[in-house]
């Protein structure tokens, strides 16, 4: 246990703590008696004022804090409201506007940790305790300065599909040096396998060619194809990526997909590794197409059952005349398309994969995509009958409802099924020469059972998260329950990841169409530009600090440190000659406190989260006599 007397002396406890408690409209005040918490807080040691507001984050709420600081009523601030992840920066900036140091503030989360999980007296009691603890800590807070580090005006984009190409181009136009890393030998990603795209019918190859041209012609962009990231370290603004470039193996990639942009750069002929020093990383790693299980709607059992990407590819190669579609010499007199294959799976209804997993999400793009394909067929081959078996038609975007409308006018026949009553695909046994039959209880005709003989079944397979497990473990990236990479918050920080300086672009995050992927990519790029364009950035100062007088150079902290290189032993000149001492590299320190726990002499402490501050928090939580309950 640390001897408090030997700790670096804290200033006296503040006697001018301001406590600001939020109603959050009713989110907090419906369950916490906010006025009672305020009355209790007024009596806590060191508290000068306690105030409430219906929205502390609103301008009038912030103004309360600013006025008190400016008038010298308070010199430490406690805000009791929602999770600090939402509003810490709001209140820090209010305090800065009042001319004070932003780190003289502590936060009590009385919404997520109290009013959303507790009700009645318990909620008020816990809110009082959390506010009490925060005032205990606040009394010992000292002004801190953020850590300023240089930031390289250089960004790395991982993935050379639509989103990666878009992100690389706009970043380079913004004046950053860009490295684009793509693991295949070509650019264009999944979209390279597409022909024309919904809803407007643009040639996908033309879209890719335009994006790729902008990338390949830009002098600030280095394209590394056949390359993968194999090592990652550093910190925001100063990351180091180890990139391995290998020879292409022509069999590994399906070049026959057609419309790719083969990269003819100066990739080495022998495998090479290089270090890329970069400021930020944009992840544009894309998706993979759902592969149906054997037997799922007859897939693998019948060669007449295709996935949507397979069908799109075959359709783009069709060269037949007449009014009936022919695929591989077979006339397609009737075909069925089935929606939501590998998407919108429901526990208890759909079969889980070998890992007990279901794709519960909607893949967003398949409805428009399959209707576009259906229209393409019907408008060229009007005598090919198409049956569209769907759950909900999700033509949500601009120009998409028109596709649905057009399909209906093209006499595509729509049949609707419920999730728990999927249609079946089986060999046709009615004696006719149709290979397959599809059976459905049609919700549009009073659940009548309908059997349709067909020559072809197309499965509207959805999107799955790409396999980026290597990057996930290397960069410690959060992954959602849907297995896609997880943003910090869908509205407050939609392209940011919890690892600072790593951003999300396109379908690495969720299913999206080309337009949405381009928006996501440019949004990721603008955050990257904001982060790096100044050439420096400021990090939170909650890092370990070593008291050189107390350090005995045991190195225990270095062994315990979780961040590579955040703690190092140095030779320090002291009055006893040269001694080993620990030194913190602030930019790399995670502020986890692992070193604090193992130091035998109590020489290390965390700025802004010192042991003494923790003790003060605990003291206040257990100091029942101080709280009138």
């Amino acid at each position: 246990m640390t001897d408090p007397k030997k700790m670096k002396k804290n200033k006296e406890k503040s006697e001018k703590i301001g406590v600001y408690i939020c109603y959050c409209g009713g989110n907090i005040s419906d369950h916490v008696d906010v006025e009672k918490v305020r009355e209790a807080a007024e009596k806590f040691p060191g508290v000068a004022v306690a105030r409430t507001n219906s929205f502390m984050c609103s301008d009038p709420g912030q103004e309360l804090i600013i006025e008190d600081l400016k008038n010298g009523v308070v010199d430490r601030v406690v805000v009791a409201s929602c999770a600090p992840s939402l509003h810490e920066n709001t209140f820090r900036s209010a305090i800065t506007r009042a001319g004070a140091n932003p780190y003289i503030y502590d936060h009590a989360n009385i919404r997520e940790q109290v009013s959303w999980v507790l009700h009645g007296d318990k909620a008020t009691y816990k809110a009082e305790k959390l506010v009490a603890a925060a005032t205990g800590k606040a009394g010992l807070l000292e002004p801190l300065d953020p850590i300023r580090v240089n930031a390289r005006k250089h960004a790395t984009v991982i993935g050379g599909g639509i989103a990666g190409l878009k992100a690389a181009r706009v970043l380079a136009d913004r004046g950053l040096e860009v490295v684009l890393i793509e693991k295949t030998p070509f650019l264009g990603g999944n979209a390279a396998g597409l022909d024309t795209v919904a809803p407007l019918g643009e040639q996908c190859s033309a879209l890719i060619a335009e994006l790729a041209k902008g990338v390949l012609e830009h002098t600030a962009i280095t394209v590394l194809t056949r390359s993968e990231v194999v090592g990652f370290n550093g910190y925001v603004g100063n990351y180091n990526l180890q990139v391995k470039t290998t020879l292409s193996s022509s069999s590994a990639f399906d070049k026959a997909a057609g419309h790719v942009v083969p990269f003819e750069g100066d990739n080495a002929d022998t495998p090479t590794e290089q270090n890329v020093k970069t400021g930020a990383v944009v992840l544009a790693t894309g998706f993979r197409s759902y592969q149906p299980k054997t037997g799922e709607y007859g897939f693998d059992d019948h060669r007449e059952v295709l996935t949507l990407p397979e069908f799109i590819k075959q359709l783009s190669e069709v060269n037949c005349s007449g009014d009936i579609l022919e695929l591989n010499g077979r006339k397609i007199r009737a075909m069925a398309v089935i929606h939501c294959v590998g998407s919108r799976q429901i526990p208890g209804i759909h079969e889980e994969d070998e890992n007990g997993y279901l794709n519960e999400y909607c893949s967003r793009t398949c409805c428009s995509s399959i209707l576009h394909a259906a229209n393409t067929v019907k408008e060229q081959f009007p005598k090919t009958n198409i049956y569209d078996l769907y759950r909900d038609i999700r033509t949500y975007g601009r120009g998409q409802e028109e596709l649905y409308d057009r399909a209906a006018r093209n006499r595509v026949v729509f049949l609707r099924f419920e999730a728990g009553n999927s249609p079946t695909v089986s060999a046709n046994d009615d004696g006719s020469d149709y290979a397959l039959k599809v059976t459905i209880e049609d919700g549009l005709t009073f659940s009548e059972e309908i059997e349709v003989p067909v020559d072809l079944v197309v499965l509207a397979t959805g999107m799955e998260a790409g396999d980026v497990s290597d990057l996930v473990s290397m960069m410690k990236l959060p992954v959602g329950t849907d297995k896609f990479l997880q943003e910090v918050h869908p509205k407050l920080a939609p392209v940011e990841m919890s690892v600072s300086g790593i951003f999300l672009a396109g379908t690495a995050q969720a299913p999206m169409n080309i337009s949405e992927a381009c928006n996501g990519a440019a949004a990721a790029a603008v955050k990257t530009a904001s982060l790096l364009s100044k050439g420096y950035l400021e990090l939170d100062p909650y890092v370990a600090a070593v008291d050189q007088d107390l350090c005995r150079g045991t190195g225990a902290c270095v062994d315990a440190c979780l961040a590579d290189g955040a703690l190092e032993m140095i030779d320090a000149e002291t009055e006893n000659g040269t001694e080993k001492k620990a030194r913190v590299v602030p930019a790399l320190c995670l502020g986890c406190g692992a070193c604090v726990a193992v130091c035998p002499t109590g020489a290390i402490d965390l700025k802004g989260w010192s042991l003494k501050q923790y003790e003060a928090m605990v003291d206040m939580i257990v100091a029942d006599e101080l709280i009138d309950i």
Binding site: C24, N27, R394, K491, A510, N519
Partner: protein, 429 residues
């Protein structure tokens, strides 16, 4: 700012809703100077008026106010509210906007937001910020977390009694304030002019707004808001706590009779969200959603829909044909049941219409950017440059180029800011 003044900046953002705020912040964070003009009395757009937002059920104020506050206090952002854009011209790397500052009848520089005028005003008017369900005053701060916190007087309702002028501690009330014009010169512009809803009066089959206890979805947002008009959910005609509530989807979208063939994109999700919030507020109430297709396509949306189903919310497939007044204030909803029952009528205590989404602003006569057949602003590279309009240097973000939910609007706002930044740089500025 004064009559005839010219303000220069790098980027002009037209519309201070969530898309405009995000675009402005993303530009200002790169040290570009930004001016936001907003036609309303406060920034925050539609989002600040909502209760909670799907699919996270975050309180909407809590997500919007940090962006409003950051924009309002950003050293590189200047905001002008209560403004009309009269003319926007673009020419060789610059845009020029002529803007009219409408009169608030309160001097914005003098007003300290103390609300004494509001408290002393004797004139009660229906509060538009609370769906008209409760009263406010003829002079008021529009709502509690409005930015700026400046009072404004509604000249239509004011009876010029003079009380507000007498009580104002800073002499801010000015009955003789006049509109005036000023000019903004910028390198680039982002149009983030948002959307509005079709009116409840638009469809005779749904009662033309004359059936009591048929409310709009935006009114339901207010009923559900923690700081709403009644602090609980009551039906407007008689204050009864409704036991049966129905949502009617596509009440103005995917409907050629209304002239709106397109899908309004976010109504399915907000109806599901409101249904979920209602089942929390009124645990015993039966809640139904009449729908054509449930379009839960975004990240986490389908799971949200399935949760709602598991909570017992009734989903009834069918386009509602007619809505009529029934006995004791209930509302009769006629639809074709798809289980074979045929045309069916169900009575509900309260009916919520998911109205259609329209552009809130037309560039016609103001600015030469093209609009599409759907009247939203046309984008010229919809796939790989979704924020580019027909005019170079003028970009579009959010629902101005078609209905979009908050997540998609915020993403697009960032994208528009990126394109605008690069446009500024390409002009050598």
């Amino acid at each position: 700012m004064t009559d005839g003044q010219t303000i220069t900046c790098d980027a002009l953002v037209v519309g201070g809703g969530i898309a405009g705020l995000q675009s402005a912040l993303d530009l200002a964070d790169q040290d570009f100077s930004v001016v936001i003009i907003e036609k309303d009395l406060s920034i925050g757009g539609k989002m600040i008026r909502l209760s909670k937002v799907f699919p996270t059920l975050d309180c909407s104020s809590c997500i919007t106010t940090p962006k409003m506050a950051s924009a309002a206090h950003h050293k590189n952002i200047t905001i002008y509210t209560w403004c009309d854009l009269k003319e926007l011209t673009s020419n060789k790397g610059s845009v020029r906007a002529r803007v009219t500052q409408k009169p608030r009848y309160v001097d914005q520089d003098k007003c300290i937001g103390c609300r004494k005028c509001e408290y002393s005003c004797p004139v009660y008017v229906p509060d538009p910020e609370q769906g008209g369900f409760c009263a406010t005053k003829a002079i008021r701060i529009p709502f509690s977390n409005a930015i700026p916190q400046t009072a404004a007087l509604d000249p239509e309702s004011c009876m010029l009694c003079g009380k507000c002028e007498k009580i104002c501690p800073t002499g801010a009330v000015d009955y003789f304030q006049k509109p005036f014009d000023f000019t903004i010169e910028a390198t680039t512009t982002i149009l983030s002019t948002g959307f509005e809803m079709t009116t409840i009066e638009g469809k005779p089959q749904y009662g033309d707004g004359k059936v009591p206890n048929v409310v709009t979805a935006l009114q339901m947002e207010r009923l559900l808001a923690p700081h709403g008009p009644y602090n609980r959910v009551l039906r407007p005609s008689d204050g009864m706590e409704p036991d049966s509530i129905a949502f009617v989807q596509c009440a103005g979208s995917r409907d050629k009779s209304m002239g709106i063939p397109y899908c309004s994109r976010f109504c399915c999700m907000y109806a599901i969200k409101q249904a979920m919030l209602l089942s929390g507020a009124l645990p015993l109430a039966d809640i139904y959603i009449y729908y054509m297709d449930i379009r839960a396509f975004g990240k986490g949306y389908e799971q949200f829909y399935q949760t709602a189903k598991a909570m017992g919310i009734g989903f009834i497939k069918g386009k509602v044909g007619r809505i009529e007044e029934a006995e004791n204030g209930s509302v009769a909803v006629r639809f074709e049941a798809q289980d074979g029952t045929g045309v069916t009528t169900e009575n509900h205590d309260l009916v919520v219409l998911s109205l259609g989404v329209l552009p809130d602003w037309s560039p016609e006569g103001i600015c030469s950017v093209s609009t599409a057949e759907d009247h939203f602003i046309q984008t010229v590279q919809p796939s790989i440059g979704p924020t580019l309009t027909s005019r170079q240097g003028i970009f579009v973000a959010g629902a101005a180029s078609g209905p979009k939910d908050i997540v998609d609007s915020i993403s697009e706002a960032g994208a528009a800011a990126m394109e605008a930044s690069n446009y500024i740089i390409a002009q050598g500025k």
